[in-house]
């Protein structure tokens, strides 16, 4: 029974659908590309030398009409998303831009100091990088704040979606095999392919950039969360099960803490990719440090582009150091490497 399906039914279905596609494309092709009569194709075989113009699957047409249909019918839905993200972005940006710059630097120092578990070296490095952004060019300060806000909101979105999806993938084999090609697609499809529709759906500005960051940066987080959970020692998970732990207890008490190194790696990758996306997003008019790079390139001003590039690298260092040192601190809690003094009393 299974063999018939595998060797007869499936190949047959594939052949039929292929033939259907060819017929559809032939019918949809303009008359002047086609011979007057279908049967001519069998006598005049010249169409075999160059790719015939009638053999052209009209994919862009249904995609265009589908996209129009989405805008007309679900415009409100996208407006809602737009307003929400834009609201969050504006709120955060206005607050940070409004603050005097020494206070912003002080806030970042405080954040780093506590997030890294009171590591002085990391804090000094981050403070220095923050200072150097404005020091490079006073224009960069506000622009970098805009970029930080976009990246931050984009990453928040990635975390909210990415980690639960990663967990679900680790648990469900079918979901994993369904999602993996989608993740590949998200990573390989050129970013302009969704930046431009993003503009149509959300307008120019920060929101399509946030969406683009999400599409581009969420796959590594999902992959590494999934991998991290699946790599947790099987016997340890089995031990939790054998003691009657529920799925939730297993996840929160054992799998997530032990998958943390991988998840932190995913968050790190997510950050780096988000920052890489910022420059590309500037091409659709997203304000931020990316447009300085773009401007420099457009004016063939290599120095200016490099200066802005350095500012982005500094931003990356700031993001990376804060998240990584926070992750390391979490891991130290869960997986101590150092010898812990024996303070047991009998």
């Amino acid at each position: 029974m299974k063999k018939t399906i595998k060797f007869i039914v499936i190949p047959f279905a594939v052949l039929v659908s292929f033939a259907a596609l060819v017929i559809v494309s032939y019918r949809a092709a303009r008359p002047r590309y086609k011979p007057d009569n279908v049967t001519d194709l069998f006598y005049d075989l010249s169409w075999l030398s160059d790719w015939p113009k009638w053999l052209d699957f009209p994919l862009s047409f249904p995609l265009n009409s589908g996209f129009d249909w989405i805008i007309v019918n679900y415009g409100l839905f996208f407006d809602g998303i737009n307003n929400f993200l834009l609201g969050a972005y504006t709120l955060m940006k206005d607050a940070l831009v409004g603050l005097p710059w020494p206070i912003v630097i002080a806030l970042i120092i405080i954040l780093t100091y506590f997030a890294s578990g009171r590591r002085v070296g990391t804090t000094i490095l981050v403070a220095f990088c923050t200072f150097f952004i404005g020091f490079l060019s006073p224009r960069y300060w506000d622009k970098c704040i805009m970029t930080i806000c976009i990246v931050f909101i984009g990453m928040l979105l990635c975390l909210i979606v990415g980690i639960p999806v990663g967990i679900a993938m680790a648990r469900n084999k079918k979901l994993r095999s369904a999602l993996l090609p989608l993740l590949d697609l998200m990573q390989t499809i050129p970013s302009f392919c969704y930046l431009i529709p993003g503009i149509l759906l959300f307008g120019l500005g920060a929101v399509p950039a946030i969406i683009a960051i999400f599409v581009y940066a969420v796959p590594p987080l999902i992959r590494l969360t999934d991998l991290g959970i699946r790599l947790v020692d099987k016997e340890v998970v089995e031990a939790a099960e054998a003691f009657g732990a529920s799925k939730r207890q297993k996840l929160m008490g054992v799998q997530l803490p032990l998958a943390l190194p991988n998840i932190m790696q995913g968050i790190n990758q997510c950050t780096m990719m988000a920052l890489a996306m910022v420059v590309i997003a500037s091409m659709i008019g997203t304000r931020g440090i990316g447009d300085e790079v773009l401007l420099g390139l457009q004016q063939l001003n290599v120095g200016m582009a490099t200066e802005a590039g350095i500012a982005i690298v500094l931003l990356a260092i700031i993001f990376d150091r804060i998240t990584q040192s926070y992750g390391e601190r979490l891991q130290e809690k869960t997986q101590p490497k150092k010898k812990i003094p024996n303070n047991a009393k009998n």
């Binding site: 089995e238 003691f243 009657g244 732990a245 207890q249 997986q335 010898k339 812990i340 047991a344």
Partner: protein, 344 residues
Amino acid sequence: MPKIELKNVFKIFGDSPQEVLPMVQKGATKEKVLEDTGHTVGLDDVSVGIEKGETFVCMGLSGSGKSTLIRHVNRLIDPTSGEIVVDGTNVMELKEKDVLEFRKNHMSMVFQSFGLFPHKTVIQNVAYGLEIQGKKLEERNEIALNQIKAVGLNGFEYQYPGQLSGGMKQRVGLARALAPDNDILLMDEAFSALDPLIRADMQQQLIELQSRLKKTIVFITHDLDESLKLGDHIGILNDGRLVQVGTPEDIILKPADDYVSAFVKDVNRAKVLRARSVMLKPDDFNGRDNKPVDTFEVHEDVFIEEFLPRVLQDRSTVIVVDSQGNSKGQITEKELANALKKSE
């Protein structure tokens, strides 16, 4: 009624085990099933009853299905067909939530590579079962401390598993399994990863604990000596089939088939056989004319190795007695020679 009972349990690994089941039930061998259908037979018609308070050792080589078997008892693996009854409850009928309750309150497990939580301290590891049971922190710490003391690890409560040696880790594993005070203990090759000295030490510790606690223990091992030392009953698995179940003496003296005899061929019989199982009953020696001159008494549960040297040295005869001192039989050099001779 047995505490744990497996009735005609089959387990087949693969895409569509139910379709392959009839073939296995008709008696197809593991190799044939694998060749024809690509399915692996884990357990093949296993039925066994394990009594309350005994140590049942399940022995077999790797791939014989012993780890699969033990995971059926707490339903970490579901059988393809068959019944598993624990304490009169058919475990197969439990819903998912009840299975969790059942694991929490009836059984604990010890693992080959310990299965300790690397991110928890020793005391948190030991208290894990209690935590899942929903006990309060003070209560579970108190119980956990006692268990840690019982396995001789006091002073290490706040260390992490990564800081302990293999033997110490398995003590933590044992303490963790004992902490919830469940009456069934599943031990999956618990001592196989330990070096021989520590292993013997742990076996001794288990025997002592068991003499006090009287748990029902299912112990998996690939080591015959270990199974003979620990087991009240031993089940020998080969290719998913339970080929023989019996006491250590049964296995040695009456191997059920070639597989088992090959297994027991090189065993040191003097270490395994007890006076009771090799002695001549009164009916057998009453006919003899020469009364033994030089005799000494030995309890019926004593292993041969303990009185063997004395018999050889003095040419004396052993009078086997029970706990009340009544004579049950006698052993001479001849019986010893017969008992220790390898079966061909």
